[in-house]
């Protein structure tokens, strides 16, 4: 159900689309101020005026978190099949081919290992711009393999979720990825290795209801939409206005569901700190630069 928004719109709003000519001005959707697009990008896709966190392309996300030149990609060798021979307005393989071409990867996820402030970590990052970050067999398998490989190598795992939920076009196989990812995470749990989950805008449906909320620590970015059922579905069900801020990160923090809400500029530093504290490693004493883009 949470995929609804994505498919209705056909394509997500890509204010940060690389196709937008750099250097143009744009109007911030949150504060309405005209901002220089280059400033937005160099500010980790956070509005320099109001701090609104825009959705972030996967490669920039990885660059913002991993020490320069340390990221070693694991994912990319698995591609989706069409087990249901699913056709909606378009055959599933055609839809995939189109999105694969646009996003330059076989499915909605990148996994790998690298260093954060020198600390070795495994990481997965979901690509919301790839079919709404929907989870089919490939996304599930890549996450499962990333968890198992992290365990093999004794690495903590950091996961960045962004997803409309399970992918309808693979039917119940998509549903089963919720159980598959969960059982694969047990390999980290068996070894007492931390898994830290970062929920970014939006994290919904079957992704929220499986690996994304099973972190030893679960944190979110400001104002991220995080839910099981999407706001539209709930509104249709209950025929009632939703409370202000409902299903947003700050709301969920108050409801006890999150360890913290972290601004993007602080994310790398906080993640490293969490890992070092959990693994009883020395924490850095020097003040780290708050802005870590490209580091």
């Amino acid at each position: 159900m949470a995929l609804e928004r994505w498919f209705r719109r056909g394509r997500p709003t890509r204010v940060d689309d690389d196709a937008t000519p750099a250097g143009l001005w744009m109007k911030c959707s949150a504060c309405n101020v005209q901002i220089y697009r280059k400033d937005l990008v160099s500010n980790l896709h956070v509005c320099p005026e109001c701090g609104h966190h825009y959705r972030m392309p996967v490669d920039e996300r990885i660059a913002s978190l991993m020490d320069e030149g340390t990221f070693d990609r694991w994912s990319g060798a698995l591609a989706p099949e069409d087990p249901l021979e699913f056709v909606d307005t378009e055959a599933y393989p055609d839809r995939m081919a189109r999105v694969q071409g646009k996003q330059g990867r076989p499915d909605a996820i990148v996994t790998g290992e690298g260093r954060m402030h020198g600390e070795p970590v495994a990481m997965f990052v979901m690509d919301f711009f790839f079919a709404g970050g929907s989870m089919g067999s490939v996304v599930g398998e890549e996450i499962a393999r990333a968890a198992e490989r992290a365990a093999d190598r004794g690495l903590p795992l950091v996961g960045l979720a962004a997803s409309g939920g399970a992918r309808m076009q693979e039917g119940a196989l998509s549903l089963m990825q919720m159980a598959k990812t969960t059982t694969a995470l047990e390999s980290l749990n068996d070894l007492g290795l931390p898994y830290i989950s970062v929920l970014t805008d939006p994290t919904t449906g079957g992704v929220t209801a499986s690996f994304a909320t099973l972190g030893d620590l679960v944190v979110a970015e400001p104002k991220a939409l995080i839910c099981f059922a999407g706001p539209r579905v709930i509104q249709q069900t209950i025929k009632q206005e939703l409370p202000e801020g409902f299903q947003r990160a700050e709301f969920l923090l108050k409801k006890g569901m999150l360890d913290d809400v972290i601004e993007r500029k602080d994310l790398k530093r906080k993640l490293v700190r969490y890992i070092r504290l959990l693994l009883d490693r020395p924490i850095e004493l020097e003040r780290e630069d708050a802005h870590v883009a490209g580091v």
Partner: protein
């Protein structure tokens, strides 16, 4: 109440009844005529139910009169003692849990429960759980582990409830936690999809060593109606969506999502609840007998690897831009 495709069958049954009455009243021997109609009825039933479309099976899975969780609890198990509450938020009537005997063996039962009439349906929230329902299930998992009792989970829900309180109380969190908790059970667990297996709300109690499904039950990532609304912006395309989603028992068997399909009586479970429930009871006994020799470590291992395997994908040749360093388990 009857389903649309059942009409010819019900008409014929009614005709046979009328003829029998007429014969008795008039003292006429209509045995051979009735015999002809009865054999026609039998083949009509066989034909109809052998070739049910997926959408028709969805309707059978939801049919009024189809046995519900509590019907099984009362018919298949002995000495059921219902245990209430999640010790945290409430006692969700959409999930019934407790202790019972099955063929002399104590088991923990978790049953998603729809109503058997409108009043009960409202009370049971149409089988749609709130977080407290899943927390109650998890409490049962704890009890099962502590006392070494096998778990039987009966799945029948349109899905977890999408509402304000449910979201506030962490519907997603609790489904994820239930999946994880069930995957860690150190006792045998068998789940049976007896009606609707609605998405994450069903899977939350579906992470069993063996997953069984009734012939006309369904198990899906999304309801046909919601799927149609999203894909074609038209909920009336549900029939088309049901076909596309491949959500029937046999489909799921092909996809290796379920381990075993249990036949229903011709005409569907709602036309012969007793035979259906006997069938399920027998299967549960067999499955629990088969799992009984396995120790806790083996049960956990088997359950994890069962779910770890699920999915269909292609291993690509290493692309230039990708590190080909993947491995098969």
């Amino acid at each position: 109440m009857s389903l649309e495709f059942e009409k010819p069958i019900l008409d014929l049954e009614s005709k046979i009844r009328d003829m029998r009455t007429y014969g008795e009243e008039q003292g006429i021997d209509l045995t051979s005529e009735i015999g002809v109609l009865e054999s026609r009825l039998e083949s009509l039933k066989q034909e109809t139910f052998a070739s049910l479309t997926r959408w028709q099976r969805v309707q059978v899975a939801r049919a009024p009169g189809r046995p519900t969780g509590l019907d099984y609890v009362n018919a298949v198990f002995e000495g059921f003692e219902e245990l209430h509450g999640d010790r945290t938020l409430g006692d969700d009537p959409a999930v019934v849990t407790g202790l019972a005997k099955l063929a002399g063996r104590s088991v923990v039962v978790i049953a998603q429960q729809k109503g058997r009439d409108t009043k009960e349906n409202i009370h049971r929230n149409f089988g749609m759980s709130h977080p407290s329902g899943y927390r109650k299930a998890m409490r049962m998992f704890d009890l099962a582990d502590k006392f070494g009792l096998p778990v039987v989970a009966l799945i029948d829900t349109p899905g977890a409830y999408p509402g304000i309180a449910a979201e506030e109380q962490g519907q997603a969190w609790v489904i994820a936690a239930s999946i994880q908790r069930m995957s860690r059970l150190r006792v045998p667990a068998v789940s049976v999809v007896i009606g609707e297996g609605g998405s994450g709300g069903a899977l939350a109690i579906g992470v069993a060593n063996r997953v069984l499904i009734l012939e006309n039950a369904t198990y899906s990532v999304i309801s046909p109606e919601s799927c149609a609304a999203i894909l074609w912006r038209d909920a009336s395309q549900a029939e088309r969506a049901a076909e596309a989603l491949k959500l029937t028992a046999r489909d799921l068997q092909t996809l290796e999502i379920v381990d075993r399909v249990l036949d229903e009586p011709v005409g569907g479970a709602h036309r012969d609840p007793e035979a259906t429930m006997r069938q399920v009871g027998d299967a549960l006994r067999e499955e629990l007998d088969a799992l009984a020799p396995l120790d806790a470590t083996e049960l956990v291992r088997q359950r994890r690897s069962r779910f770890r395997r699920l999915g269909r994908f292609t291993e690509l040749e290493a692309a230039a831009s990708e590190v080909p360093d993947t491995r098969l388990d």
